[in-house]
């Protein structure tokens, strides 16, 4: 006989989450991770939810996100370039720009963007599902909603954060090349761009970057869902639940960034 369903685990995690938030969150996060790496999770129904989540989180917003990232990159590259030039350190501008944008600003920006857009929406939807008994109704017809509805969203949302971060880094590199190298070809010796990229993206930096991004992806999906599952069954609690989820998400994302900074620059 199998032990408790994932929904029961999530519900217990949810109950904990309302009283002691981080324990409940950790439980749901662990269940989600365990499910995500299990091949049995992936069937037609769950893959469909994963695909939909990637579509709504990454593909649908791609044009606007790309445009915003490009604009931000150009502004930051100009600021860093001009400041470096003022100090007579233009040779360092490229490495500085790549380091600041690709390793620090863009992963954080992507996580915040997805948190505000998708995290808030997910939190509201799951809270309403809980309040309106949709989760219970699904369970009663033998469909574990956490397994078939919620964990695929965590997987899809995390993949979307990883993909959007990769896209934003590619845009940043392209624009850094365009603004610093192509527009002022006399400023840097030939081959400096490749050298700077290679220097910034060494193995430890890559490991840290993608571990951090993975943690961002999990945070922006697991925290809103876990918090929403803890919502008491009263409509008036829905905004409270979303608010709590978003505040915890903010602190979690910032904590991940601070830890990553400490590992990269202090340890």
């Amino acid at each position: 006989m199998s032990s408790e369903t994932e929904t029961q685990v999530a519900r217990r995690a949810g109950a904990d989450s309302w009283s002691s938030p981080w324990i409940g969150l950790a439980r749901f996060g662990a269940a989600a991770l365990q499910r995500a790496i299990s091949p049995s999770t992936y069937n037609g129904v769950t893959l469909e939810v994963v695909q939909k989540q990637i579509y709504f989180t990454a593909w649908e917003i791609l044009p606007g996100f790309t445009a915003f990232v490009a604009l931000l990159c150009v502004v930051i590259i100009q600021i860093v370039g001009n400041t470096a030039k003022g100090f007579g350190l233009y040779g360092y501008a490229l490495e500085l720009v790549i380091r600041v944008l690709a390793l620090e600003v863009l992963p954080l920006l992507t996580a915040v963007f997805v948190a505000l857009r998708t995290g808030a929406a997910m939190s509201t939807e799951v809270a309403l599902m809980k309040i309106h008994n949709e989760l219970e109704a699904f369970e009663l017809i033998g469909i574990d909603p956490v397994r078939f509805e919620l964990i695929p969203r965590v997987i899809g949302g995390t993949i979307a954060v990883l993909a959007l971060t990769a896209v934003s880094i590619v845009i940043a590199l392209g624009l850094a090349h365009l603004v610093i190298v192509d527009f002022q070809p006399w400023s840097l010796p030939q081959g400096d761009f490749a050298r700077a990229v290679g220097k910034v993206f060494d193995l430890p930096a890559m490991l840290l970057l993608w571990t951090k991004t993975l943690a961002f992806g999990l945070a922006v999906t697991v925290i809103p869902i876990s918090q929403a599952l803890a919502t008491p069954k009263r409509l008036s609690y829905a905004p409270v639940s979303v608010l709590r989820g978003m505040v915890r998400l903010f602190f979690a994302v910032m904590s991940i960034e601070v830890v990553a900074l400490a590992i990269a620059y202090v340890v």
Binding site: N43, G44, V45, E48, E125, L128, M129, H132, N133, E134, E136, A137, F138, L140, I141, G142, I143, F148
Partner: protein
């Protein structure tokens, strides 16, 4: 073999159970965990269409492909005359349409008992006994037993047995 084909040969039995109060109703429901409940407090998934709400059952339980499950669901909806609501979502449904969607989803589940809990709450704007009977008649052969659980004070609404 699809789930609807598997159910094709069932001899459906419909029972009316008139109870004196809510306590008796709760006791009856709690005593039959094998029954699939059709109740006003158990909604459809709001962000899925009626067709998806029905089809997901056989996709998850029987591992049917999306196409086969949708075809089965469509066939059942068509049989009860509600194929037109297949693409609608719960908030866009009328009471009768929502009731039919829940009933068809329960039929696809093929439980030993389908328990319609207080049809008056599910169909507040309808003279419900004939409507429920007609819907169940259209699904005859696709379920084993259906219990209609109602309060004794609603007994006059039901036609007297001949």
């Amino acid at each position: 073999m699809s789930s609807s084909q598997a159910l094709a040969a069932r001899a459906s039995v419909v029972r009316r159970i008139m109870l004196p109060d809510n306590g008796a109703r709760r006791k009856l429901v709690a005593g039959h965990p094998e029954a699939v409940l059709i109740s006003a407090r158990l909604p459809l998934r709001a962000n899925l269409s009626v067709l998806e709400n029905i089809a997901i059952v056989s996709r998850v339980r029987d591992g049917l492909s999306a196409e086969d499950a949708a075809r089965d669901a469509w066939e059942l909806l068509d049989r009860v005359g509600y194929a037109r609501v297949a693409e609608l979502r719960d908030p866009d449904l009328g009471h009768e349409e929502r009731f039919v969607a829940k009933l068809v989803r329960a039929v696809v589940l093929a439980p030993p008992i389908i328990l319609i809990d207080r049809p008056g709450r599910l169909l507040p704007d309808t003279y419900y006994p004939p409507f429920v009977d007609a819907t169940l008649a259209a699904l005859h052969g696709r379920f084993e037993q259906c219990w209609i659980v109602d309060y004794e004070w609603n007994a006059p609404l039901y036609p007297r047995p001949e």
